[in-house]
Symmetry: C2
Subunit: 385 residues, 2 copies
């Protein structure tokens, strides 16, 4: 059900040939109200795709009628023609739904530089087919239509105290902070105003999608959108809603991590006893981005020296000769020196846990990453061919 699980939302997912596989490639989610609240966060990459440039304007007034998404082409670095395509896409949705184009968000994903006349024609055809196919059962079809190299669709539904949150996500590579290469649509029938929706979304993404760093590469097209219909008539407890939204985002983030291109390990890197949360994030991210560490995990090698070499590049407060490192529960390094033998660490399971104790303060953070594998290299060397 994904985005159609909460009351007040219709969706569709259709195939118009943007993907050479013939699979679904255009999705539409429409908020039937009574509220038309929207909030969104965008990639922090300065190289922003045309749909991002458009959607940043749409979201300003907190009113969103619909969101249209395509896979099979990023419409990024496609010049004025590409921006016009995004604009035309929103206008076509607006015409067919009889809403303002300025209340229609647009997302695109696929190869950067793709956005020619053929692309435009197919997207506009996809809009027409999607509007015709809209219903309250097609959340799954929409989730499939946004997949690119994803091997499975990612959806989540969570209900609580009379309201529901639904979500769908796509993303399998270029997963890094300032969002990952991903598109996420979250829907809820809870009664929220735009300011609350924005605050809840920022709080939830800060500790979920922004902590996902599969390969250190930041996308040009990322967007996470929350739409609220108010159709449940229930005003949620703010803390409960934020907690639930955060859990939903983390659930989707972990689904993205589990399906990261070519990865054989899902690695949680937790830094404890850091001076500040920002420093815990910085230290964990330095390890998550270290190719030698990532290759070692692929080889089931608990190479803690590479962990210390990575964290030594940060500016965080700690003494390298006081740091402890645990891998899958075995303390392989204590006080910056060898502790338990490497042979005691079992790295054969996909789920891998690294805990780094800085022994400085009380702050903690976790970064979610993946290993560096032959398949990652293969998939990303062949992507555009």
């Amino acid at each position: 059900m994904s985005v159609t699980a909460p009351a007040g939302f219709d969706a569709a997912g259709v195939a118009v040939g943007l993907k050479s596989s013939g699979k679904r490639d255009v999705a539409l989610v429409v908020n039937r109200g009574p509220l038309k609240v929207g909030a969104a966060v965008f990639t922090s990459n300065r190289a922003k795709a045309n749909p991002i440039l458009w959607s940043e304007q749409v979201i300003r007034d907190g009113v969103v009628e619909a969101i249209v998404l395509n896979s099979g082409g990023a419409n990024c670095f496609t010049g004025a023609f590409g921006f016009q395509t995004t604009h035309l896409t929103a206008e076509r949705v607006g015409e067919l739904l009889e809403v303002g184009a300025g209340d229609v968000l647009v997302c695109s994903t696929g190869l950067i530089g793709t956005g020619d006349e053929v692309f435009r024609a197919k997207v506009l055809e996809g809009v027409a087919q999607s509007v015709a196919a809209l219903d309250a059962e097609s959340g799954q079809a929409a989730a499939e239509a946004i997949m690119t190299t994803d091997s499975v669709s990612k959806t989540v539904v969570r209900s609580e105290d009379g309201w529901t949150i639904g979500g769908m996500a796509k993303g399998a590579g270029m997963l890094a902070p300032g969002l990952a290469t991903m598109l996420v649509v979250l829907t809820t029938d809870a009664v929220l105003d735009a300011a609350d929706a924005d605050a809840h979304l920022r709080a939830a993404t800060r500790v979920s999608f922004d902590r996902l760093d599969s390969d250190g590469c930041m996308s040009t097209n990322d967007q996470v959108t929350l739409l609220a219909s108010g159709a449940s008539g229930v005003v949620p407890d703010p803390d409960a809603f934020r907690r639930a939204l955060t859990e939903v985002c983390l659930d989707l983030a972990v689904q993205l991590q589990a399906d990261a291109e070519g990865a054989s390990h899902s690695i949680r890197i937790t830094v404890v006893h850091a001076a500040t949360e920002d420093e815990a994030v910085e230290v964990a991210r330095s390890v998550a981005r270290n190719n030698l560490f990532k290759a070692a995990i692929f080889g089931n090698d608990p190479n803690w020296g590479r962990v210390l070499a990575a964290i030594g590049t940060t500016q965080a407060q700690f003494d390298p000769y006081a740091v402890d490192v645990e891998m899958n529960g075995v303390r392989v390094c204590s006080n910056g020196g060898p502790d338990r033998p490497r042979e005691e660490v079992d790295l054969t399971p996909r789920e891998t846990e690294v805990v780094i104790d800085l022994k400085v303060g009380d702050a903690t953070a976790t970064i979610y990453t993946n290993d560096l594998t032959h398949d990652y290299v293969h998939e990303n060397s062949a992507y555009s061919s």
Copy 2:
């Protein structure tokens, strides 16, 4: 000849079993004077190996009698015992050469965490054998003794106006700024004082080794040392000496790049028309560290979208929609949009050139990097096993 090419230097390279292959693994370079000038730059990693901690003290007075180097073990994160090993190594060299231990530099390279009793015994045995083997012909043997995963030894000799510079380097992975995973010894018979030697060395490394960023991973053991014997009796023209030293360093840096673990492309990323040199470096480095770009080059895919996505993560001054990108002479992107077809770019040669025109100012910089390959993943997943 490498380090023994300039007058006033003896060297040795011996095998004592630190490498399981039985190849040479301990090197010694001795300055016979009349000057005993030394300068060194070290890894900027805060996680520093024991030999770095020792050598940072030795270099303070600018007087160096000898430098001893071992492969087969990094002696990093080996605790107080490891530091004592480094200290004992310098003392043993000092005793046998009848010089002060405080004028003996020590370098180690190999697996982090290696530095036990067996390691210590072998290194000390290597010192004894090296001192016995010292002569003015063994520069090549010394260069071989510092190799780890290097497939070839790296040496250089350059003579000019009555003075000579010789050098040897090792390094094949963990190559990143703040030096690469490498040890470099440069010798000269030019007459230099310690302050000049230090200034020349810093100027030369800033635009050579510090611009080598093979895999974004910064080592714990890096050291580049310049020893001056003054044996030529010639006081060099400062500009000519600095230029020659810079060319020698760049020659060795490119040799390291050419032998980088598993790489199939040596990639020069040049940023032109940046606002400042620092910004040119920042932009070029962002591309050099982008795994998706590096995997694309491995796949002979001129994926310029990944170049723009990478530079969009920097804080440098530029408009993403004004940037041009050339690959091997073909302008694939102009003003942030597609230009020549990808098919025109031939990426089959190992040497790859990417030029990014920011169109902002007059500054230029080049970063030297490698592609991300199956072999890189393989070699670095199996390194410690």
